[in-house]
Symmetry: C2
Subunit: 177 residues, 2 copies
DNA sequence: ATAAGATTTCAAATGTTTCTGAAATAACTG
DNA sequence: CAGTTATTTCAGAAACATTTGAAATCTTAT
């Protein structure tokens, strides 16, 4: 491997690691993902430990978390007892997986909470809906519910297997005037 | 104020606070924003401190950060030396402000880093581009650059003042088959 | 069944972010 | 200008998140 490539890979890992916060994953997870993505090959736990100078426990837990997110997959090699891990190579597929997870982990619970909040002062809570402050409050909650449900519907269409892909939708929106 | 309303507001603050991570802001910032949003009125620092049981320093720093994000504004009242703070009440405007900030803080630097990385092994780096591993690496970087530039363009259109609003674009995409 | 190798778990250590409180600074009033 | 009130700053404290390393568990080959 040319030294330029090794250097470029190492820097890529660092750069991608800085995005961890934006994706909502830990730095090590992002670095492992970067390493697998930029390497292109499947690597075993020891490869990851050596490349990133991290402990076995950390590698194990972070790899499992990446599997949970659905952006890394496990493979086996015949005649080898180790497990090997490879990153999804299609960046759009990876983005869909992340969006899908975050919908489930963040948006769904928020919508559920907003529905509960609505019940506290809504139509089913007798004797309070005449107060103008309560009416204003209910209007705000309605706006939020509508916002999150729109986001959910939009994002759901993007990530659904049968729906149009995010990429094509993005390009369509980005191109037409 | 009916006790149901006070209770509903308090719960809303807690619920919104849990979204802090998803928006990329601290818990206190999210709670202050929630308080201002759900109250509808402008509040002064002492009101915020009392309602959330936080220190003056925390309130001051978090309010300034919310101003920086552009989702809270400062107002004055005649005959009063205190500053009052009010949250943007349009949830779509707030979302646009957040997206706009995160583009600037996260996506722009990532694109810049990817451009730098591309120079390490790209056309301007002589003598390495014949290696197939380098070619594969360059392809991956190209994919990423294209991905982020598409995201940037798309999001930029949503948040630009003269462009169509995010809401209308979202509805357009969500409705048509 | 057992031994070797691979993986997972988790308590303790480390690192990072956020918060407090008091001092310093700034802004207003008369 | 002096006095008063409001705001900002920042070092240390507290809370929170991540990582380590070694023991426990699981897997596979013979």
């Amino acid at each position: 491997m040319p030294p330029e490539l090794a250097d470029a890979r190492e820097r890529f890992v660092g750069t991608w690691g800085q995005m961890a916060g934006a994706w909502g994953i830990s730095r090590t997870m992002a670095e492992i993902h970067a390493l697998l993505y930029v390497t292109g090959d499947a690597l075993c736990t020891d490869d990851v430990m050596a490349a990133l100078r991290i402990s076995r426990g950390n590698a194990s837990m972070s790899l499992r978390a990446l599997l949970d997110w659905g952006i890394v997959s496990k493979t086996h090699r015949k005649g080898d007892r180790k497990e090997y891990f490879a990153a999804e190579q299609d960046i759009w597929a990876m983005f869909r997986a992340i969006v899908s997870q975050r919908l489930k982990r963040e948006v769904d619970p928020m919508i559920a909470s907003l529905h509960e909040l609505r019940d506290l002062t809504g139509e089913r809570a007798p004797g309070v809906q005449d107060d103008p402050a309560v009416a204003a409050h209910n209007k705000r909650l309605e706006d939020l519910v509508e916002f999150f449900e729109t986001i959910e519907m939009l994002a759901g269409r993007f990530v659904s297997p049968q729906g149009e892909g995010l990429q094509s939708a993005a390009l369509r929106l980005a191109e037409d005037e």
